[in-house]
Amino acid sequence: MRFRTKLYTSIGSLLLFITIIVMILMNMLEQSTVKMNVVINDLNERIEIASTIKDETSLSSNVLNALLNNREAAINMDLTNAWENSNASLQIAIESLEKKDTQEKAQELISKFKSLHESYRNMGEQALMERKINPNAELTPAFLTDLERTSQRMAQMSELLHGIQEQGLKNELLRSKDTYNWAVENIYIYLVIGLIIGISFAIWIIRSISNNLNKVTEVMKQAAASDFDTIPRIEISSKGELSEIAVAFNKMAKALEEHSRNEKQVKEDAEELSWLNRQIAKIATLYTEVENVQMLADMLITKLVPMVGASYGVFYLKEVNKSDQYLTRMSSYASLSTEQERKQFRLGEGLIGQCALLKRPIHLNQVPDDYLKIGSGLGEASPKTIMILPVLFEEQVLAVIEIASFETLTPIQIKLLEKVNNNLGIKINSIINHMKVEQLLQESQALTEELQAQSEELQMQQEELRTTNEKLEEQYEASKQQNFEIHEVSAALEEKAQQLELSSKYKSEFLANMSHELRTPLNSLLILAQILSENGEGNLTYKQQEYIKTINTSGNDLLNLINDILDLAKVESGKLDVIPKEVELNQLRDIIYRQFSHIANKKKVHFSIELDKALPMTFFTDEQRLLQILKNLLANAFKFTESGSVSLQIHSVMKNITRNQGEEQQLERVFAFSVIDTGIGIEKEKQKTIFDAFKQADGTTSRKYGGTGLGLSICRELAQLLGGFIEVTSEIRNGSTFTLYLPNLQMNNKIVDISTARAEAAVSLESNYLVNSNDQVLKEGSMLKHGKSILKNKKILIVDDDIRNVYALTIALENYDMEILVAENGREALEVLKKHPKTDLILMDIMMPEMDGFEAIQHIRKISRFETIPIIALTAKAMKHSREECLEAGASDYISKPINLEQLFSLMQVWLFTKEG
C-alpha cells in the first residue's frame, strides 16, 4: 500500500471515526436536548394545563357557589358567564390534557375528572335553572352537599393531575441526567477506541515505513561500500513510494554502474593516453639531442622498439639518387645477421617499398616461422607480428620503420607507433631541413673563407704585380733614361756622324795603330818576361820566377783582352764589315788544323777535323770572321778539355734561319760547324748566359781557366753578322758541343744590315745588364731616390704662432731642402694656401689665436684641392683628447710637442711618400 494512501487512510479513518463519533454524540445530545425540551415543554404545558384545570375547577366551584348564594340577577349574569367560561376552559384544558398526557394513570384520572366535571356541570346547571325558575327557592341541602362533594372531588382530582404532571417533569429530568451520563461515558469509550486506532495506525505506518526505509538504507549503505561496479538492488516487495524509491534507486544504481563503467573506461582511456603521451614525450626528448638523421634513426629505433615490447626493428630512410628513390637501412635494433637483410629497397620493392608506396602501415599478424629469426645467445625464435610503418611528412614518405615482435601488438602500442610516426615525419623533415641549412651555412662559411683566401691571394698577387709593375716602371724609367741618353748620344752621334764618317778612316787607323802601339810594348814585355822566366842565367830565385810567370800570363791575358775588346768594339760600333767570298773548306780545314794541332799535342788531347763528304767544296761567307769564330770556339774547347778529344765536324743540315731582321724564319740548308769536346761541360742554367759578355761557365769564383769572358760574346755577334747563330749542347763533365750554323751567303748577296745587328746587340747587352744587376743596382737607385729625397723640394706650410718653434722647424726642414711657408694662425694659413696651392704638407699647431688648429683644419678640408693634403697636427702632450679632436677635424696624423725631429721626419716621409715619388 502506498505510504500516502496509508497515511490518508489511517489519518482519514481516524478523522472519520472521530467525526462519526462526534456526530453521533451531537445527534444524541441534540436528540436528548430536543426530547427534553419537548418533554419539558410538554410537561410544562401539562403542568400549566393541570394547574389551569386546578384553577378552573376552583374557580368554577367558587363561581357556582357565588351564583348559588347570590340572588341578584345582574351579578348572576356575570357569574353565569364566568361559570360558563370556566367550564368551557376547563373542558378545553381537560381535553388538551387528555390529548397530551398519554399516561394511563393520567388518562384514567382525566376520564374520571371528565365525568366528575360532567356531573358537576350538570348539577351546577340544574341548580342554576332552579334558581332561575324560583329565584328564591332554596336548594335542597342534599343537592348542595352533593355539589360540594363533586367539586371537592374535582379539586382533588385536578390536584392529582397536577401532581402527576410534576412527577412526570421530575422523571423527565432524571432521565435526561441519565442520558448525559451515558453520553459522557460513550465519549470516553470512543476516545479510547479512537486513540487505540490512531496509535495502532501510527505504529503500523511508522513500522512499515521504517522497515522499508531500513531496507533502502541498508542497500544504499551496501551501495556506498561497493565499488560502484555492481550495486545491490532493492527488492520491490510492494507498491508505494518506497518501491518508487527503490525503483528510482535501482535506476540510479544502474546509472551509477554505467557511469562507473564509463568512468573506468574513461580512466583507462586516459591512462592509455597518458602512457601514450609519456612515451611520445620520451621519444620527443630524444629529438632535442638529435643532430642528424643517422643519430635520430639510432636513437629512435633503440627507444621505440622496446617501448612497444617488440624485439626487432629496422629504420629505413628514403634517399633520392638522381631519379631513383631508395629506402636505405639506417639503423637497426637487435638485428642478427646483416647479410640476410637487405640494405636497400626501391620504392615498391618488397613490403618495405610497398609500404612506402602505399603510405599506409602494413601489419602482418601471422608471420611464418621461417620468416625471420630474432635471437640472443641462448636461442632464437620467430616473431609473431611484423609492423611496417611509413614515416610521412606532407604526404611524402621520408622513412620506413619495420618492427617485429613476439607478441601481438596491442592497439595502444599500434597507436603509439602511429603517433610517434606522425611526429617523426615532422622531425625528420626538420632535421633534413636543419641539416640542409647547416650544410648551407657551412658552405657559406667555406665560401666566405674561400673568398677571404682568394682575396688575400689576389691581394698578394696584386702586391706582386705591383712590385713587378714598379720594377717594370723603374726599368722603363731607366730604359727611358737610357733611351734618352741613347737618343742624346745618337743625336750627338748624328751631329758628329759626318765628322765620324770623316774620321772613321783615321779611327780605324787609330785602332790599328792603337792595337799595334799597345801590342808592341806588350809583346816586348811578354817576350822579355818569357826570356826571364826561362832563367837562362840561373840567377833568379824561385819566387822571382813565379812573379815573372805571373807577369807573363797577365800580360797574355791583357793582350787577349785588348784583342777581344777591339773586336767587340768593332762589332758593336758596326764597323765590322762582312766581306763574303768563296771559302774553300779544305783550305779552311788545313788552316785550323795547323793552328791547333800543336796545342792538342801540348795538352795531349786528340784533335780531329771531319768534313762531311756530301758538302760542296766551297761556300760563301766572310772567311776571316768564320775563322775567328771557329778559333774562338776551338780555343775554348781546348781550354776546358784536360783529356779526351776535341773535334770539329763540318756538315750541312736543314735549319730555320732568319735571313734578315724582321723576316720570318725559313727552313734552309745551312752549314754546321760543330766543335765537340770532352771537357768539363756547362750546366744547363749557364748555357744561355755564357754568351753574355764577361760571363763564364764556372762563374766568377774560379779563375782557373782565365780568359776575358768576351770570346763567346764576340762569337755570337759575329755569327749573327754572318746571318747564322750558335747553339750549345752540353752535359756537365761530359763535354760540350758548340755548333755554328751559317747560311750560304751566295744565295743572296746582300750584306747583312750591320746597323740593325748593332742595335740588336746593344739592346741585348742592355737588357742583360738590367736583368742581372736589377736587384742591387735598382735598390741603390731607389734608395737615393726615396729617403731624404722624399723631403727634397717639398713645400711645407708651418702654422704656429710661436715664432721660436717656427724658427727651429724652419731651420731643421731647410736642411733637407724643403721649401717652408709660415703662417701664424689658421686664418693666415688659409691665405697662404690660397697663394700656394701646391703645398705638399701642413704642420698645424692647435692652440693659436684668431683661428685655432681645429677650425683651420676643418676649413682646409673644405677646400677641394686640399681634401687629401697631409695635415699633421702639433698637439701638446698633456692633452690627449685634443688628438681625437684633431683627427675628427680632419688631421691626417699628429705629433706631440716638444717635437722630436727624427720622429717628425719619419712622419713627414710617411705622409709625403707617393709612388711616383
Binding site: 734608395m783 722624399i790 696624423d893
Partner: protein, 257 residues
C-alpha cells in the same frame, strides 16, 4: 712532393692549392702541372718558389682595427693582472700584426710581462718580420688603422723612416720570439693566454682546420682567448662547444672548457 721534400699540402683547401699551382705553372711558363712536378723534383729552387706561393703574406698593421680595439678594450682588462702573459701569433707573416700587438700592449702598460711568440711556416718572411721594417707607402693606412684601433699615443713615436721603409723601434722586439712553426705538422709548444690565428685556416680544408683547431685548443690556457680572421669561426668545428663567443663580429672566442 711530400715524399721528396716532406711538405704536405694535401689537406689545404683544394681550390687554393689548385690556384697556387696553376699560378706557378703560368709563371714558370710551363705547359702542365706534371711539367711543374718534374721541375720541382729536379730543381729545389722551383720548390722554394712554389712554397712561397703557398705562403700568402697579406697582412697589415692593426689589420681590422676593430679587432685590435676589441682586444684593447675587452680582453686586456681581463688579463691585465696576470703575472705574465703569453701570446701566440700563428701565421704571423711579415709581422705587422705582431708589432701592432706589441704597441697595443705597450700602451696598455703590460708589454713588459708579455711574451709574443710569432710563428710562420715561411722562413724568409720570418726574417723579414724580425727586422721590423715595413714599407713607407703603407704607413698612411697603418696610421689610420692605429688610430681606429684606439691608439693612445702618436703612431709616429714608434717608427723611424729610413729611405722608403720605416723601422720600428727596437724596444718593441724585446719580448718577441720569432720561430718557424708549421701548424699542419708541428705540435703545441706552450700554453698561451691569447692565440691570434687570423686568416690561416682559410687555406685549409675541413680536416686540417679541425686538426689545427685541436692544436690551438690544446695550446690555449683555460679561459684563454682565441682570435680568428674576419671570415673564420669555430662553428662547425669539433671545438665549437669549447668556446664562448667573446666578441662575435671580431671573431674573438674564449675557451670555456
Amino acid at each position: 712532393m711530400f715524399r721528396y721534400y716532406g711538405y704536405d699540402f694535401k689537406n689545404y683547401a683544394f681550390p687554393f692549392v689548385q690556384r697556387r699551382i696553376n699560378h706557378r705553372v703560368q709563371i714558370e711558363r710551363l705547359s702542365s702541372i706534371s711539367a711543374l712536378q718534374e721541375k720541382i723534383l729536379r730543381e729545389p729552387s722551383v720548390m722554394a718558389r712554389l712554397l712561397s706561393d703557398f705562403s700568402i703574406n697579406v697582412t697589415e698593421m692593426f689589420r681590422d682595427p676593430s679587432f685590435f680595439k676589441s682586444i684593447r678594450t675587452k680582453v686586456i682588462p681581463l688579463i691585465r693582472d696576470y703575472p705574465s702573459i703569453k701570446i701566440w701569433h700563428v701565421g704571423c707573416s711579415s709581422g705587422e700584426e705582431v708589432y701592432s700587438m706589441a704597441i697595443l700592449l705597450h700602451e696598455e702598460g703590460i708589454y713588459d710581462k708579455t711574451r709574443i711568440y710569432a710563428t710562420d711556416l715561411n722562413k724568409n718572411i720570418l726574417e723579414k718580420a724580425k727586422q721590423g721594417t715595413f714599407p713607407l707607402e703603407e704607413m698612411k693606412l697603418y696610421t689610420k688603422n692605429y688610430i681606429e684601433a684606439g691608439g693612445k699615443q702618436a703612431f709616429s713615436e714608434y717608427y723611424k723612416a729610413i729611405d722608403d721603409k720605416v723601422c720600428f723601434h727596437p724596444f718593441l722586439q724585446k719580448n718577441m720570439i720569432f720561430a718557424q712553426h708549421n701548424v699542419v705538422s708541428d705540435h703545441s709548444f706552450n700554453e698561451f693566454d691569447i692565440i691570434i690565428c687570423r686568416n690561416v685556416l682559410i687555406y685549409f680544408n675541413k680536416v686540417l682546420q679541425n686538426d689545427v683547431h685541436q692544436l690551438l685548443y690544446e695550446s690555449l690556457s683555460t679561459s684563454g682567448f682565441l682570435g680568428l680572421g674576419k671570415r673564420e669561426g669555430v662553428k662547425f668545428t669539433r671545438y665549437e662547444d669549447c668556446y664562448r663567443e667573446f666578441d662575435g663580429p671580431e671573431r674573438l672566442y674564449q675557451k670555456v672548457k
